[in-house]
C-alpha cells in the first residue's frame, strides 16, 4: 500500500470509471437482454442458471466489500459476518413466507412449518412481516442493531485481534444453535423455502429473476462507490490509522471506539442487505448460513482478492465462488482440498491477493 496521498485522493480515475461503466452496462443491459430477448436456442442466450448464479455471487461480493471495509481498512477480522448476512436473509424470508398466503401445502393462513408445529397464531416477532416496508426496515435494523450493541461493548473494552475474531465466531455459532431450534419460530433446521411471489410478482419467472439480478448489480456498484467514498474521506484515513497504530491515534486525541463502531455497523447493515437480496434469488434460507465455516470463508474471498482494495474483494468473491461452483459439480471431493490450499497459499504467498499480484506484474513490466 503506497503513500496515503496516492491511494486516497479521489474516488476513481478516468480508467476506473470506464471499467465501472463497462461492468454496469454488462449487468444492466447485456445480461438482461441476452436472458430475456434472445431465444433459448441461440448461442448468446443466458440461461436462468447463470442469471441466478451470477446474482448469487454478486450478493457474496457485497458481503466481501463489507468485510473488506472492516478488515482491510480497520484491521478488524470478523468471523461472524455470516450472521448479519443470514439475519438480513431471514428478515426478507419472513416477508416472502407471508407472501405465500394460503398456497402452502396445508393451505393455511400460517406458514407451513407453523402448521406443522401445531401453532395457532403468529408469534410476536412475526407481526408486521406481511408489510414490505417493515421487512425492509428489519433487513437493515436487525443486523445493524445487533452489530451496534455487540460492537459497542467489544470496542469499548478494547477487545481486538484474534480475541475479537473468536468472539464473533462464538456469536454466530450461538445464533446458529438458536435458529436450529423449532421453538425460535424461524422454521428450525429447514428454515424458509418454497417462496411463491415477491411484491405480487411470481418469484420464479425469468422477468422477476432478471429484475432481482439488476437490483443486486445496482446494489453492488452502489456499495463499491460508497465504500470507496468512505475510505477516501477523512473518516477512512482515521480508520487506516487506527488499523496501523491504534495507540498513537488515541494519543492524538481521537477516540477509536466511534470510528470502529461506525464502520462495523455499516458493514453489518451491508451484509444484511446482501442477505435480503440473496434469499429471493436462491429461494432458501436456513441456519447453516450462520455456521462458523461460512463466515470464515468470507475472509478468504477478501484475502484472495486483496485486502484493502475494495474492488479486489469483490473480484475475490467472484473467483472463489466461481471455483466453488465449478469444483462442487466437477470434483466435489476435491473442493475442500482446494479451499484449504487456497487459505494457506494466499496467506503465505499472496498477502495482497490478486490485486497485489497484478500490481507486482505491472510494476515488473514497467521496470
Amino acid at each position: 500500500m503506497g503513500p496515503i496521498s496516492a491511494t486516497f485522493s479521489r474516488l476513481y480515475g478516468p480508467r476506473g470509471w470506464l471499467v465501472l461503466g463497462a461492468v454496469g452496462a454488462a449487468l444492466f443491459i447485456v445480461i438482461p437482454v441476452f436472458a430475456l430477448a434472445v431465444p433459448p436456442g441461440s448461442a448468446f442466450h443466458v440461461s436462468q442458471y447463470w442469471v441466478t448464479l451470477i446474482g448469487k455471487i454478486m450478493c457474496y461480493a457485497i458481503v466481501a466489500l463489507a468485510m473488506d471495509l472492516i478488515w482491510g481498512y480497520a484491521g478488524i477480522l470478523s468471523l461472524g459476518h455470516g450472521l448479519f448476512f443470514a439475519l438480513g436473509g431471514y428478515a426478507m424470508g419472513m416477508h416472502l413466507m407471508r407472501q405465500i398466503g394460503r398456497e402452502g401445502q396445508y393451505q393455511a393462513d400460517l406458514p407451513d412449518f407453523m402448521v406443522f408445529l401445531d401453532w395457532k397464531e403468529l408469534p410476536w416477532h412475526w407481526s408486521g412481516s406481511d408489510q414490505f416496508w417493515w421487512a425492509m426496515l428489519l433487513v437493515v435494523a436487525v443486523p445493524g442493531l445487533l452489530a451496534y450493541v455487540f460492537g459497542y461493548f467489544a470496542f469499548r473494552s478494547r477487545v481486538k485481534g484474534v480475541y475479537f475474531s473468536i468472539i464473533t465466531q462464538a456469536l454466530t455459532f450461538a445464533a446458529m444453535l438458536l435458529f436450529f431450534r423449532n421453538e425460535t419460530g424461524f422454521g428450525g433446521n429447514n428454515g424458509f423455502t418454497d417462496f411463491k411471489r415477491i411484491l405480487g410478482f411470481p418469484i420464479a419467472t425469468p422477468e422477476t429473476r432478471v429484475a432481482l439480478f439488476a437490483i443486486t448489480g445496482a446494489m453492488l456498484i452502489g456499495t463499491l462507490l460508497l465504500g470507496r467514498y468512505l475510505v477516501t474521506s477523512r473518516f477512512g484515513r482515521v480508520l487506516a490509522a487506527i488499523r496501523d497504530a491504534e495507540q498513537r491515534v488515541m494519543f492524538c486525541g481521537y477516540n477509536p471506539v466511534h470510528y470502529k463502531l461506525a464502520v462495523w455497523t455499516a458493514s453489518a447493515v451491508l451484509c444484511g442487505i446482501a442477505g435480503a437480496l440473496y434469499v429471493p434469488q436462491v429461494g432458501i434460507i436456513n441456519p447453516s448460513e450462520m455456521s462458523p465455516a461460512n463466515s470464515i470463508e468470507i475472509a478468504i474471498w477478501v484475502a484472495v482478492g486483496g485486502r484493502g482494495t475494495l474492488a479486489g474483494a469483490a473480484v475475490g468473491a467472484g473467483l472463489v465462488n466461481g471455483a466453488k461452483s465449478f469444483f462442487t459439480q466437477a470434483f466435489p471431493e476435491y473442493w475442500l482440498f482446494f479451499l484449504g490450499l487456497l487459505f494457506i497459499l494466499v496467506t503465505l504467498f499472496m498477502p495482497n491477493g490478486v490485486v497485489g499480484l497484478a500490481d507486482r506484474l505491472r510494476g515488473a513490466r514497467r521496470a
Partner: protein
C-alpha cells in the same frame, strides 16, 4: 456317565433323602396347564404362596412357552427331552397328544413377578439381589407373606433393606392402620422415585379438594417421609449433575489445554486444533483395529497402546504444521488464523478420503463399560470416570513439565517475554516447534479420550473448536490454573443450565455470558500481570 447318575440317585435313595416328587401342589400345576386365564393366575398365586423353589422351573417354562399338557400330565419340554412338571422325572418317550400351554401377556407379567418372589429364597446372592430389584418396581399384596418370609431368612444387609422397602410399599397400599403407619416410617429410608410417587398419592388432595387419604396422622407421617425422600432424591440429582459437569469440564480442559499453550506462547490461534483432536481419535481407531486383527486376546488393552500413539501422531502433525506454515506467518496472527483453518479443512477432507465420510466405530474396552450405581437412578459411567482421572493425570504431567524441565523453563520464558528470552540465549524458534508439538500431542490425547464417549468422524473436531476457544478466552493465557478453572466452571455451569433450560439454551447462555465477561476482563480470569501495554 449315565451309570454314574444312576449310582448317585441310588445312593440318595438309600440315604433316605425324601424323593423330590412329593412337594408341588398337583391341583395348582394342573390348573396352570389346563385352566383358563383366571384359573391360571390363581394357580400361579398358589404356587408362589407355597414358596417352593422347584416351582421356578415350571413357571419359567410357562413364561418361555416350554410348558405342555398331555392329558392331565404336565410336561416341561426342553429341546428334545422333557421332564414331568410335578415330579421332575424325565419323560420318555414323549406322549403324542401333548399341547402347548399358552400364556397371554397378563399371565406372563404374573409369571415374571412370581419368579422374582420365588427367587428371593434362592441360595445364590446375586439371584436374590436381582429378584429383590425386580420386585422393587411393582409388587402386590399376594407376595407380601413371601417377602416377609424371605426377610426373616435374609442376612445380606443390601437385599434386606430393599425387601423392607418393598414390603412397606405393599403394606402402605393395603394394610391395617398400624401397619401402614409403620410402613410410612420405613419408607423414609428410600431414595427411589417410585416411593416418592407413592407417598405423594397419600398426601395429595383429590380434584374436589378433599384428601384422598382420610387419616390425618398417616398423612402427617407420609408428609415427613416424603420430605426426606425428596431431599435424598434431590441430592442424588445434584450429585449426578455435578458429576456430569465435571466430566464435561474435564473434556473441555483436555481439548483446550493444548490450545492454551500455543496461544499463550505464540499468540496464534490454531484453528486446526479441532482437527488434531480428530486425528488423535482416528489414531485410536487404527490402533483398535490393529489389536482386533493381530492380537484379539489383548483387545482390552488396546487403549493403553493408543494413548502414546495418539500423542505422537498428533504431535508429529503439529510440528510439521509449525515448520511448514505457521513459522512463516509470525507477527500476522489473523493470517495465521486463516491459514490454520485451511489446514483444518484439508485434514478433514484427507481423513474423509482415507477413512470415508461415515463415523467409524471405536469400542470401549470391558473395564470402561458399565458404571457405579450410587443411588437407584444415579449411575456414574466408568468411561467418564476414567477420562476425569486421565485428564487429571495429563494436567499433572503438564504442570511438572512446565515447572521442572528445561523445556518448560524455556516455554515460560518465551511466553513472558519473547525478545528478552531470545537475548539470553533461548532458542525461541526451536522452543516454538516443541511447544506446538506438545500442544498438538495433548489435542491427540483429547481425541483418544473423546473416542471413548462419542462418535468418531471427520467432523469431530469442529464440534469442540468453539468450546475450547471459549475456555482459553475465559481462562486467560499464560497460566494453567486459568484454563483449569475456566474448563471446569464452564462444564458445571453448562450442565446446570442444561438441567433447567435444555442443552441448546444452555450453550447459548454460556456463550453470551462469555461475551459479557470479556467486557469486564478482556484478558480472561488469570492474566499475567505485567506492564506490557499491548503487542
Amino acid at each position: 456317565m449315565r451309570a454314574r447318575v444312576f449310582l448317585v440317585a441310588a445312593c440318595a435313595l438309600l440315604a433316605g433323602v425324601p424323593p423330590p416328587a412329593a412337594a408341588l401342589d398337583r391341583a395348582a400345576v394342573e390348573k396352570l396347564a389346563t385352566g383358563d386365564s383366571e384359573e391360571k393366575l390363581e394357580a400361579i398365586n398358589a404356587l408362589v404362596a407355597e414358596g417352593d423353589p422347584r416351582a421356578i422351573a415350571v413357571l419359567e417354562a410357562l413364561g418361555d412357552g416350554g410348558l405342555q399338557a398331555a392329558g392331565n400330565r404336565v410336561l416341561i419340554v426342553k429341546g428334545d427331552g422333557a421332564t414331568d412338571a410335578l415330579t421332575g422325572a424325565p419323560v420318555a418317550p414323549l406322549p403324542a397328544d401333548r399341547e402347548d400351554v399358552v400364556a397371554n401377556n397378563r399371565i406372563r407379567g404374573a409369571v415374571a413377578a412370581a419368579l422374582a418372589v420365588l427367587k428371593l429364597v434362592s441360595p445364590d446372592r446375586d439371584t436374590r439381589l436381582a429378584a429383590a430389584r425386580a420386585l422393587a418396581g411393582g409388587a402386590d399384596e399376594t407376595v407380601l407373606p413371601l417377602v416377609r418370609r424371605a426377610l426373616d431368612k435374609e442376612t445380606d444387609p443390601v437385599i434386606k433393606a430393599m425387601l423392607e422397602l418393598t414390603a412397606a410399599t405393599i403394606e402402605l397400599k393395603g394394610g391395617d392402620r398400624e401397619r401402614r403407619l409403620a410402613a410410612v416410617r420405613t419408607l423414609r429410608q428410600s431414595a427411589s422415585p417410585s416411593v416418592k410417587t407413592l407417598l405423594l398419592s397419600v398426601v395429595e388432595r383429590g380434584k374436589d379438594g378433599s384428601f384422598a387419604e382420610a387419616d390425618e396422622e398417616l398423612r402427617r407421617e407420609a408428609q415427613a417421609s416424603l420430605t426426606e425422600v425428596e431431599g435424598r432424591l434431590a441430592w442424588g440429582q445434584r450429585l449426578g449433575l455435578a458429576f456430569a459437569g465435571i466430566s464435561l469440564g474435564s473434556i473441555l480442559l483436555l481439548a483446550a489445554l493444548g490450545l492454551a499453550i500455543t496461544y499463550g506462547l505464540m499468540g496464534v490461534i490454531n484453528m486446526a486444533h479441532g482437527e488434531l483432536i480428530m486425528i488423535g481419535a482416528y489414531a485410536t481407531y487404527v490402533v483398535q483395529n490393529l489389536f482386533r486383527s493381530h492380537a484379539p486376546g489383548a483387545f482390552d488393552w488396546y487403549l493403553v497402546c493408543a494413548v502414546p500413539v495418539a500423542f505422537v501422531v498428533a504431535a508429529a502433525v503439529g510440528m510439521a504444521l509449525e515448520r511448514l506454515v505457521i513459522r512463516w506467518l509470525y507477527g500476522r496472527p489473523l493470517e495465521t488464523l486463516l491459514a490454520t483453518w485451511g489446514i483444518g479443512l484439508m485434514l478433514i477432507q484427507g481423513v474423509r478420503t482415507v477413512f470415508g465420510a461415515q463415523n467409524v466405530g471405536v469400542e470401549n474396552p470391558v473395564f470402561m463399560s458399565g458404571g457405579i450405581e450410587v443411588m437407584p437412578d444415579v449411575v456414574l459411567p466408568w468411561n467418564r470416570i476414567v477420562i476425569i482421572l486421565f485428564t487429571a493425570g495429563v494436567l499433572v504431567a503438564m504442570g511438572l513439565l512446565l515447572a521442572k524441565t528445561r523445556l518448560g523453563l524455556f516455554v515460560r520464558g518465551v511466553t513472558q517475554n519473547r525478545a528478552m528470552a531470545a537475548c539470553v540465549g533461548v532458542p525461541t524458534a526451536r522452543v516454538d516447534t516443541w511447544a506446538f508439538g506438545l500442544g498438538a500431542g495433548i489435542a491427540g490425547l483429547a481425541g483418544c479420550a473423546l473416542s471413548q464417549i462419542g462418535n468418531v468422524g471427520p467432523d469431530l473436531g469442529q464440534a469442540y473448536i468453539v468450546d475450547s476457544f471459549m475456555v482459553v478466552v475465559l481462562g486467560g493465557v499464560g497460566q494453567l490454573a486459568g484454563t483449569v478453572y475456566a474448563a471446569l466452571g464452564l462444564g458445571v455451569v453448562n450442565k446446570l443450565i442444561e438441567s433447567w433450560q435444555g442443552a441448546v439454551i444452555a450453550k447459548i447462555l454460556v456463550l453470551v455470558f462469555i461475551v459479557v465477561f470479556i467486557q469486564k476482563r478482556p484478558q480472561g480470569m488469570f492474566a499475567l500481570k505485567g506492564r506490557a501495554v499491548e503487542a
